[in-house]
Symmetry: C3
Subunit: 354 residues, 3 copies
Amino acid sequence: MGKAGAGRFFEDYAVGETLRHATPRTVSEGDTALYLALTGSRFLQHCSAPFARANGLPALPLDDLLAFHIVFGKSVPDVSLNAVANLGYADGRFLAPVYPGDTLEASSRVIGLKETSSAKTGIVWVRTEGRKIDGTPVVDFVRWVLVNKRDPASPAPDPVVPELPAAVPADRLVVPAELRPRNIRPADTGSPHFFEDYAVGERIDHVDGMGVMESEHRLATRLYQNTARVHFNDHVERAGPRGACIVYGGVVLSIARALSFNGLGNVLRILAINGGSHVNPCLAGDTIHAWSEVLERAEFSGRRDVGALRLRLVATRNRPCADFPLHRPEGGHLPEVLLDFDYWALLPARSCIA
Amino acid sequence: MGKAGAGRFFEDYAVGETLRHATPRTVSEGDTALYLALTGSRFLQHCSAPFARANGLPALPLDDLLAFHIVFGKSVPDVSLNAVANLGYADGRFLAPVYPGDTLEASSRVIGLKETSSAKTGIVWVRTEGRKIDGTPVVDFVRWVLVNKRDPASPAPDPVVPELPAAVPADRLVVPAELRPRNIRPADTGSPHFFEDYAVGERIDHVDGMGVMESEHRLATRLYQNTARVHFNDHVERAGPRGACIVYGGVVLSIARALSFNGLGNVLRILAINGGSHVNPCLAGDTIHAWSEVLERAEFSGRRDVGALRLRLVATRNRPCADFPLHRPEGGHLPEVLLDFDYWALLPARSCIA
Amino acid sequence: MGKAGAGRFFEDYAVGETLRHATPRTVSEGDTALYLALTGSRFLQHCSAPFARANGLPALPLDDLLAFHIVFGKSVPDVSLNAVANLGYADGRFLAPVYPGDTLEASSRVIGLKETSSAKTGIVWVRTEGRKIDGTPVVDFVRWVLVNKRDPASPAPDPVVPELPAAVPADRLVVPAELRPRNIRPADTGSPHFFEDYAVGERIDHVDGMGVMESEHRLATRLYQNTARVHFNDHVERAGPRGACIVYGGVVLSIARALSFNGLGNVLRILAINGGSHVNPCLAGDTIHAWSEVLERAEFSGRRDVGALRLRLVATRNRPCADFPLHRPEGGHLPEVLLDFDYWALLPARSCIA
């Protein structure tokens, strides 16, 4: 390899260490156009500059998940290049909107390490922070991955397992101060449903199905500069157990979120990622459907114009969601379920209707 | 489904009703770059900002068909989500160039309704108007679609069938006042042929063939935020009669128009859509060829710098166009014909040559 | 065909003739976003506007190869539409960075002609120059192609074979005067290796593999407005000897260059193309790997902040590069080798480390 790197192994991490990730990236309207072509998203907040400005923002923000994927992608070469599996996310917060012209950079702090019983792998927990180059925090989340050891004989570190909240508590959610929804027209957003209209326990089948094809998932994953080999090295993956590259879980998440427009069209912003797991692999050719469940509602003291919904977003492959597929009777997720995701979304209150 | 919608059925339309479509969209240079990558178009008017400015425009306009597809896409959730077929277009006019930064919105007025003899479906005619958010009309056209009834037993409405012109009369064509072609260099536009050089009855084989692949048509259709299920739900379409998603007819139109550069390179702008039908379905993997025929010529009173050609544009699948394929001897279109489109194009006169 | 063109044949070229190519093109941030999604490139110089500005540039430049491909693409309709093969490049120099908003135009001068022994084809040498519309030269290179004769019976021209340098001499390399690297942080560029760290003879396996799929190579080639039929006419190519469209060699080059980030992450700019040949065809579905060898080092008088490496870049299909595959024992390239490319790259010296 010479001067090329092959990524870190489990032995290369130390609790407390901070990894500064390469390639700060200036985002542009080109990223927004591509994200739209890759997902078909129709949330007005990310499509109409006049709407964004009428609601207090200085410009048309990038989709929150686009910003998340770019930050996540930066962490891959240092965190998950040799990962066997992404095990989960937790305690993620979206802290500021990102606009064309902003430059995003990222770093990760190692917050936990634990060798697995096989002694061939270990779990690494990191807290990844994405910032604008002026220091403004953009997104902050914990993820943990199963990483190969370089040498199964190397000694296990003292296990450190971080305590993580089951969900981000509502009082830690950050609503951008400048975001002031008002004069929202349901005819423009495509949805007559506002914060007050959603009840805990309510489920929504997002109806539409979206196939994810070979070139589409690869274009998306490269747009995020996510270099994980399982998404791109067809030569190796075709000979592997799945016979094909695996679709980056973030592609499934973004498509499921785009599908959720049909029923959640007034969502203004993702506020937090409480948790999430990619419970089965998605392959090119799969058709994704999605459904949502309202888990919790939260109001903000001092702001009557918005409220937050804690939502479960479930994505399936090749199975419509009219019956809200999730678990097997004997426990565990159904094999058709790809994603089981828990997040907070910001919605305008009915008082914002024009 | 809960709060998600499943689209309108035939019973849900009333003549005279106006449907305001969701998601006004701010367009950008990112859309232009993607459109170029998706179609390979080389018309100078949409590639060179200095050329556009030298000919009177304030900036590089989006391709006219890109603007059309975006407006069309907005109408899909309200007009054709449950459409069985797009039956035709008529009386379409392009009213103003669209520039990066413009925000496009759209509405449709129901202008005709007629139940079909089976009583299971009905034809809905709408006039769709695309505007900039400041009210400037951009494009305006009639289309009619065959829509399923929710219940075959529901009573038929009084039939209203709009009268539509066979072609937009030349005196209704709108040439943007600011568009003042001058100093056009054939070496730059790639074509030595100006308005005077085209004769009625003349046919042009555009020679080149362009395959349209799985991910390409889907990226394009999502870029236009066209959500029609037949283009995306592979799970359903694979089990259907065609065994695959159908390519959005606008993708065929845009590729045929891009191919027409070879022979019509000096076209400055599309002025009108007289009519058009997608006579056979296009599937991913098809190679598109195209040919054109000059149907009519029109001059503008008070403007000697430009003229209009009424053109038939025919696109085929997997068949070169040296022999101008169109109809079967026994009548009807050949099975290789995908598109039979009738439009007005604006060309500079020879006096504009630098 | 009527007014459409079918491209030039060997008889249509004359030594000394200049061909001005069609469709000057204004580039944008949209092109940059697409190039990134198509290649996965992570060179900081083309990702971060603050980094570009901190190193003396006025804005974020387009990737050098993106500018090269756009210029090359313009020459295709006039030079290689009827080409049987691209035989090689030589004496190419990158003369100025290209920024969003610049308009690129191109012309080619015929500098050599020689009929081949079969009398059915001939070799055409052209020097292609890409310029900004204000006249600033951007890139300049020689390429030669094997072109069909219209009529094998037409007489052979007097052979003119240009003398071409084996490599661009270091004293003809152009380092943009405004490019002043300083305060480079290896944590940001992803590489701790600077100019002084590379030794002649050193080889680097770039490790990662990148599949190139059907829609990806076609999107890229259309983005460059390269219309060569072998990349797009699936109807013809499926019936041909390869059974599929051939991937534009520039796509292979760009992916190999993107892979070279892993080991050459501090490259600031491509200075020259010394030579290169596409030794075997790449087809959609191939996984590309790459390796590099340092052939030569050059310093610049009066500039201690940068140095140039002459590099061989080899790309393979479906074969990792740990053993640096290149030639067969009996001579000639291995069948797995796609590209054997020789170029000069600009690197910062260690004195630039922040």
